[in-house]
């Protein structure tokens, strides 16, 4: 079948929803999601959304901008950070007006709490900047925007998986999708495609990400010739539940929680004397790994403790109830009495599809691709630089989701309909058929497990030339093995077996780009830490990495960082 809509938004998390809402009055918008929209991964965001409202104590957008830039280890493009910080209060009030049930202060304002890397007066001490709805901030925002989108007539296609981006002479003509319920392949003919497909934490073994986070949109953009930016910067959240990787929000430390090593020491005091446990995530994750490597894990093992026992049951119930319940369910412990075993878990991708300030996707010559937009975690603005601050992601989604929506609405006036090429779905159909027809080979699960193992062992918090080389060799071996991937399920309906085999191509391709980027960057900055190049090197490396697909090995090139207000200086907390 061919569906025709002015705008197709791929991915129904917060970025996609916010963009769709903005564009809904200007054209016919279709929202495609491989899960039911309310299952999207924005819903797992716990801690809150940053905005200098000053509801609890004095705050300013300039401090917020500075924190974002310093948090990003000066790789952040500063004009982007300025837009974010200035627009944040408006964006949060808008969410409140739509009905998001934020927690409140005694005077009836939106309540705010401290969060990692957010400071007053350019780093003097923590500031309460995170607006929150208990520890389910993302979920209530997403539900609110989803019902608002349904109310405004955005057409929703649930359980439709994008298989291909249809480009005609460098312009977008639509997408090819797979309908999970029927196994049919359809085309969406459109003038604009917005990719808002989220992250791809599933390239790692232990992650806070959902199973759906396989980076399909990012990979399809890459395969279409779009370069990917800053892919070496992978955020490991310091406090994943040991073993599972399920997230324990930074809000736990924002509310006063303390990390302790095997001897009970509050070790963050040594690594970040000013803001201690509220240092940015890259620093805290490295600190935890250092403690573990030096034998100071709990009982010498590979985890540390997050101590919330002094917060009291009332505060845990009112502000951290979801994480309290996760700990009870998965560990069988009571956070009011027992410390929580944690270790870093893959959480967020700073890199992705390069865009301008309004979500227009940029090609290898930094020129907008007509009709193609991206927003959210799959995009790279670059706002988060080398390390994202907590609560800046939800904010990114609504601020830049809205801007992308606005720009799409404007572009409708300029963009003609491209003719849909005949048989646009054929390449995707034959790719699927090859997998379905294959009788001999390996299951996707086996290859995926090997990929996750090598990425976790060789390309996590600490990296070096040798480990990255090893990962690259292994990924390329797995890419070979993937050519013989087979499935058990040849049925047409709800065939997750086939879908996961197709998703694995994205994971493999993106893992290669992550490792190639990490190998190229011979310095340590933000979340990218090279043991063989332990210092930040602004002379050589204050620039963004871009990786483009070629017939041979991926090509690496660079572009400069936009610095407007804050010159790079030493990053201490």
């Amino acid at each position: 079948m061919v569906f025709k809509h002015d705008i197709v938004v791929v991915g129904a998390g917060l970025a996609g929803l916010r963009a769709a809402l903005e564009a809904a009055n200007s054209g016919e918008v279709a929202l495609i999601s491989k899960v039911y929209p309310t299952r999207s991964h924005s819903g797992a965001a716990q801690g809150g959304i940053a905005a200098a409202l000053g509801n609890e104590e004095p705050d300013s957008w300039e401090w917020h901008m500075y924190d974002t830039v310093k948090g990003g280890d000066y790789l952040t493009d500063q004009d982007v950070a300025e837009i974010l910080a200035r627009d944040a209060p408006r964006a949060v009030y808008e969410l409140e007006h739509w009905g998001v049930p934020f927690n409140r202060t005694a005077e009836g304002k939106i309540a705010q709490r401290a969060f990692g890397g957010h400071t007053r007066e350019f780093g003097k001490g923590p500031v309460k900047r995170a607006c929150y709805a208990a520890d389910r901030s993302g979920r209530v925002m997403m539900d609110t925007l989803y019902f608002e989108a349904v109310r405004r007539g955005v057409r929703i296609y649930s359980e439709f998986q994008m298989l291909d981006l249809i480009m005609v002479a460098g312009r977008v003509a639509g997408i090819v999708v797979y309908e999970l319920a029927t196994g049919e392949v359809h085309c969406f003919h459109s003038r604009i495609v917005l990719l808002s497909t989220g992250g791809f934490g599933k390239v790692f073994r232990t992650t806070s990400n959902c199973f759906a986070n396989t980076g399909d949109g990012v990979y399809l953009a890459y395969r279409s010739g779009i370069p990917l930016e800053d892919m070496e910067f992978v955020q490991f959240h310091p406090t994943g539940i040991y073993g599972l990787g399920v997230l324990i929000s930074e809000a736990a430390r924002g509310e006063g929680g303390i990390l302790r090593n095997g001897s009970g020491e509050a070790f963050m005091e040594r690594y970040a004397p000013t803001i201690k446990d509220l240092a940015p995530r890259d620093m805290v994750s490295r600190a935890i790994h250092m403690e573990i490597l030096q034998g100071r894990g709990i009982d010498g093992r590979d985890f540390v403790h997050l101590d919330l026992t002094h917060l009291g049951e009332k505060r845990l119930r009112e502000r951290l109830s979801d994480i309290s319940s996760f700990v009870r369910i998965y560990l069988g412990i009571d956070p009011a009495r027992d410390p929580i075993p944690v270790r870093p878990t893959c959480h967020y991708m700073m890199g992705g599809i390069p865009t301008d300030l309004d979500g227009r996707v940029l090609d290898a010559h930094h020129r907008p691709v007509p009709g193609l937009f991206a927003a959210g975690e799959c995009a790279c603005l670059s706002l988060h630089g080398a390390n994202r601050l907590g609560c800046n992601s939800l904010l990114d989604l609504v601020v830049f989701g809205r801007r992308a929506g606005e720009a799409m609405a404007t572009s409708l006036g300029e963009l003609e309909w491209e003719d849909l090429p005949r048989n646009a779905q054929d390449p995707a159909v034959s790719r699927m058929k090859r997998v379905l027809d294959r009788r001999e080979g390996d299951r996707a699960g086996v290859i995926r497990a090997s990929l996750q193992k090598t990425m976790t062992e060789n390309c996590s918090v600490f990296r070096r030339e040798g480990s990255l080389e090893k990962a690259l060799t292994e990924i390329r071996r797995l890419m070979d093995q993937y050519r013989r991937v087979k499935v058990d399920n040849r049925g047409k309906r709800f065939n997750a077996d086939l879908l996961e085999a197709l998703e694995l191509e994205s994971l493999l391709g993106l893992a290669e780009v992550i490792v190639v980027s990490a190998k190229a960057r011979q310095e340590s900055r933000g979340a990218h830490y090279r043991e063989d190049f332990p210092e930040r090197d602004d002379g050589g490396w204050l620039k963004h990495t871009l990786v483009r697909k070629t017939g041979e090995d991926p090509e690496v090139f660079f572009k400069s960082v936009r610095i407007t207000r804050f010159e790079p200086k030493a990053r201490t907390y």
Binding site: Y36, T38, H41, Y93, G99
Partner: protein, 236 residues
């Protein structure tokens, strides 16, 4: 340890009737039932269908019936079922699309029926609307709903009363009715004041037992009933 699973299998487009298939899975006590299902699908039988995404009880995809109780497969651990066979079935009262995948469109329309979004005619202030912590507290529990449908799948009334929208839709109605920022309280109360709404509920309490987010669902429905009575008697 080895766990025995008996799983409901049915493709209505192909099969004449459902069957139960047996699987043996090795699992650690702390693993999730979802981990076992994944292992079955990844290692033994790729034809098994079920929904899942976040894996930790936030997205609400993997509601199903496990040993007779509606629950999220990602919130139930192997150790809760030691020594017994684990029988996994789709949510009751929902049309089966394939195996454990059910049609949730009707369920979502039920939620949508009560207009689960804030309606306020006043132009919003330049900053946030004011709401006291006490007013906000009224919705503290219901905003935990993740639309997993475990409550609706557990409710015995669903078997008898085809009109009933089910408990989840009422939780969403509650959310707007007790939101101090919403204008439409009376109209919304009138909408749930019917056999399709609150009066279908006869306090079986199964929804409350099933809710993976520990929302006191039955209590909320009874609060709605009392609120309707208060307005009816003219003493709001």
């Amino acid at each position: 340890m080895e766990m025995r699973f008996r799983i409901f299998r049915y493709d209505p487009k192909v099969d004449r009737e459902p069957v139960y298939r047996n699987y043996l899975v090795s699992a650690e006590p702390e693993e999730r039932i979802l981990d076992c299902l994944n292992r079955i699908r990844w290692e033994q039988d790729g034809t098994l269908s079920y929904r899942m995404s976040c894996g930790h009880g936030v997205c609400g995809s993997d509601g199903m019936r496990i040993n007779g109780r509606c629950a999220l497969a990602c919130q139930k651990l192997v150790k809760d079922y030691l020594g017994s066979e684990v029988v996994v079935e789709p949510l009751p009262f929902f049309k089966v699309l394939k195996d454990l995948v059910v049609d949730v469109d009707g369920f979502l329309s039920g939620v949508m029926y009560f207009r689960p979004y804030l309606i306020s005619s006043a132009a919003p202030p330049p900053r946030e609307r004011s709401q006291s912590p006490e007013e906000r507290k009224k919705v503290e529990e219901v905003i935990r709903c993740i639309l997993c449908a475990c409550c609706t799948g557990s409710c015995p009334v669903m078997a008898e009363n085809e009109q009933y929208v089910g408990p989840a839709a009422l939780v969403w109605a509650y959310r707007t009715i007790f939101d101090s920022r919403d204008d439409l309280k009376l109209e919304r109360l009138e909408a749930v004041n019917s056999q399709k709404g609150v009066w279908a509920c006869v306090n079986h309490l199964e929804c409350t037992r099933a809710c993976p987010k520990e929302i006191p669902v039955t209590k909320c429905i009874n609060t709605l009933k009392r609120e309707i009575e208060k307005h009816r008697s003219g003493k709001p």
